[in-house]
């Protein structure tokens, strides 16, 4: 986009925004529009020079200052914002529909009515189910809603949680700090009293959750750490694991955050990822049997072969052969 193509829409939004929010501190306005205070002041200087033909005092828009607060007047002609462009309407409508894909996170009815109102206001820029969402049936909406409620009210939860890496159910109390989705799956991060550390929980693995009466008790420093952490919290201390994947196992690179992907040349890939838990790698590698293999570290590769050997001999026993 050229300068004017970026700049003019901002001014056409800034004018009605200021009319709707008179006497707002300059810093707040700049933050709202994602620009510096200096840029905002330049915008206001420009607005002040514009208006109706004639360009006399009664024709120009008026910028009024009270210390560091700003108001606008005499801008009736552009007092309404420009209608939504197709990409703006798409961005909001598609994200709202994605919210519907995680039932329980927000009030479904409110999302649906907001969608209807937005589509009407977008005047045909987006319509019907051009962009649709197939709802996730894996995660229990009650579990999602319970955690969202605990987060909003700042209360501790009791959680029965399945740890797939060890294939066991655990009981723990957690102080929720943040809740997010990644690739459509809802997660929450909290201070786990079982391990006395920050943990991330995938809500489809929550077997049961109840809100407790205790308020959350998380020091600000811990809270900040929970926000700074990425989704899978890869840690430099985690082991780097290299997998050699046939074309039919390429999906691993799509599903897991990988550090490095090298094309093998035949459609297969070599991927490197960080794994906190050897159990997790062992289970992944067993699942990839015949389609992918751990190539590094060698001890983990050997470990996987041992686990596969144990499974094989168990089958020999029940099948009564060799």
């Amino acid at each position: 986009m050229s300068g004017a193509l970026d700049h003019l829409p901002r001014l056409l939004a800034l004018v009605p925004w200021l009319l709707a929010h008179p006497d707002t501190p300059v810093a707040d306005v700049a933050k709202e529009f994602g620009i510096t205070e200096q840029q905002l002041r330049a915008d206001l200087d420009l607005i002040w020079m514009c208006g109706l033909p004639g360009y006399g005092p009664g024709d120009l828009m008026d910028v009024v200052w009270h210390d560091d607060r700003v108001s606008l007047s005499n801008a009736d002609t552009i007092a309404r914002p420009l209608r939504l462009t197709a990409d703006e309407a798409l961005a909001l409508v598609a994200a709202l529909r994605a919210l519907l894909g995680v039932p329980g996170l927000v009030e479904t009815l409110a999302v649906e009515t907001a969608l209807a109102k937005l589509e009407a206001a977008a005047g045909g820029a987006i319509s019907g189910d051009e962009v649709a969402v197939a709802v996730d049936a894996v995660t229990d909406p009650d579990v999602v809603a319970t955690v969202a409620d605990a987060l909003a009210t700042g209360r501790r939860v009791h959680l029965r949680y399945w740890v797939p890496a060890r294939d066991e159910a655990t009981e723990r109390d957690v102080d929720p700090i943040r809740m997010f989705t990644s690739e459509g799956m809802p997660y929450f991060v909290g201070w786990c009293h079982l391990v006395d550390d920050i943990r991330t929980f995938r809500l489809d693995r929550a077997l049961a959750v109840t809100v407790l009466d205790e308020p959350v008790d998380v020091p600000a420093e811990t809270r900040q750490r929970a926000f700074d952490k990425g989704l899978f919290n890869p840690d430099d201390a985690d082991r780097l694991v290299t997998l050699d994947l046939d074309p039919s196992a390429r999906w691993v690179a799509d599903y897991h955050p990988v550090e490095e992907v090298t094309e093998r040349g035949d459609g297969g890939v070599l991927v490197t990822l960080r794994a906190r838990d050897d159990d997790w790698v062992r289970r992944l590698a067993l699942g990839l049997a015949g389609r992918g293999r751990v190539t590094d570290p060698p001890d983990l590769a050997a470990d996987v072969r041992v686990a596969a050997g144990e499974a094989l001999s168990a089958y020999r026993t029940i099948l009564g052969s060799g």
Binding site: S2, P53, I78, V131, A134, L151, A169, F180, T181
Partner: protein, 319 residues
């Protein structure tokens, strides 16, 4: 320089919104501040043409017409009802949902578009209360394909793109009549008619290589009556469970399978016998293998063979 141009465009928009009658190019040159900089008629013409184009690119509806039948020269104006965002009133819960939606995009361009949209709504009087900082749902755009495909669906235009299917070594060029874009388990999928194969196909956006290109005229694509996009996508991802498998699961293990069990009964000491539904042998094998010696398939026999043969290839794999 750029600021002068923005100033001229802003004055032009205000003037054309204010006028009821159509204004000819000559009249606009006289009225709107900034055009006096054009030294010649020719320079003015170029300047005005470019400005008109910019306004249209920004979605500002410029009308052309004459004020009376006797006028031969067309004039310009902007109709307020076409320009302005229609009135919109959102209840607090609706506004909160919209505010949350506006910060969900992880891609920069979609995120910027959502923020611009939210500012317009706020400029129209919608109040979005501050959201809990800990609530952070996300939606990914899977590269640049999403907005291009959504627009193609809206316009009813064919698209072409290079696509790398699950087992493809190299991307293959596809031509598709797009019917819809569907979000399913955190991924965007395109549903449409693959014109080369003359068959309905589902494409995962993250497997599209490069940017899709719209081809041909708009309005040529129509979705067949009764097409259910969501079902097409969800059945692409997981065939409906049809058969029942019998597996032996060690006590306290195999929770993922136990959660989906249709029946659990006692097995040999230390084991349960669990029945689960499965869509096909391949998927059942994939689900059972990660548990190693803790979960053993008893039935169907073809799944037992598949698990054993894949375990064997792992043990013998020395590469």
């Amino acid at each position: 320089m750029a600021a002068r141009r923005t100033e001229r465009l802003l004055n032009l928009v205000i003037c054309l919104l204010h006028t009821r009658s159509y204004l000819t190019a000559d009249r606009i040159r006289e009225l709107v501040a900034g055009y006096d900089e054009a030294p010649t008629d020719e320079a003015y013409k170029r300047m005005f043409e470019r400005d008109k184009e910019d306004l249209r690119d920004l979605g500002i509806p410029l009308e052309t017409g004459t004020n009376s039948a006797s006028d031969d020269e067309p004039g310009y104006r902007i109709a307020r009802r076409d320009y302005a965002l229609p009135d919109i009133t959102l209840a607090p819960a609706e506004a909160a949902a919209v505010g949350l939606a506006a910060r969900m995009w992880s891609s920069a361009s979609m995120s910027a578009a959502a923020t611009r949209a939210l500012r317009k709504l706020e400029a129209a009087g919608v109040e979005v209360a501050p959201l809990p900082e800990g609530l952070q749902p996300q939606v990914e755009a899977s590269g640049s394909a999403f907005p291009v495909l959504a627009e193609a669906v809206h316009d009813g235009r064919r698209v072409t793109f290079d696509y790398r299917g699950a087992g493809d070594a190299e991307p293959v060029a596809r031509t598709v009549e797009p019917w819809g874009v569907v979000w399913w388990h955190g991924r965007w999928y395109l549903v449409g008619l693959d014109t080369d194969k003359s068959a309905t196909r589902v494409f995962r956006l993250s497997r599209i290589v490069g940017e899709p290109k719209p081809v041909g005229r708009a309005g040529v694509v129509t979705r067949p009556e009764g097409t259910d996009l969501r079902t097409l996508v969800s059945s692409y991802d997981a065939a409906s469970p049809a058969s029942v498998a019998v597996v032996r699961v060690r006590h306290g293990k195999g929770l993922g399978l136990r959660r989906r069990a249709v029946n659990v009964s006692a097995g040999p000491p230390g084991w349960d016998v669990v029945e689960v539904t499965y869509p096909d042998t391949g998927r059942l094998t994939d689900q059972v293998l990660p548990y190693g010696a803790d979960v053993l398939v008893l039935e169907p026999p073809e799944a037992v063979d598949a698990v054993v043969s894949r375990l064997r290839s792992l043990v013998e794999d020395t590469s």
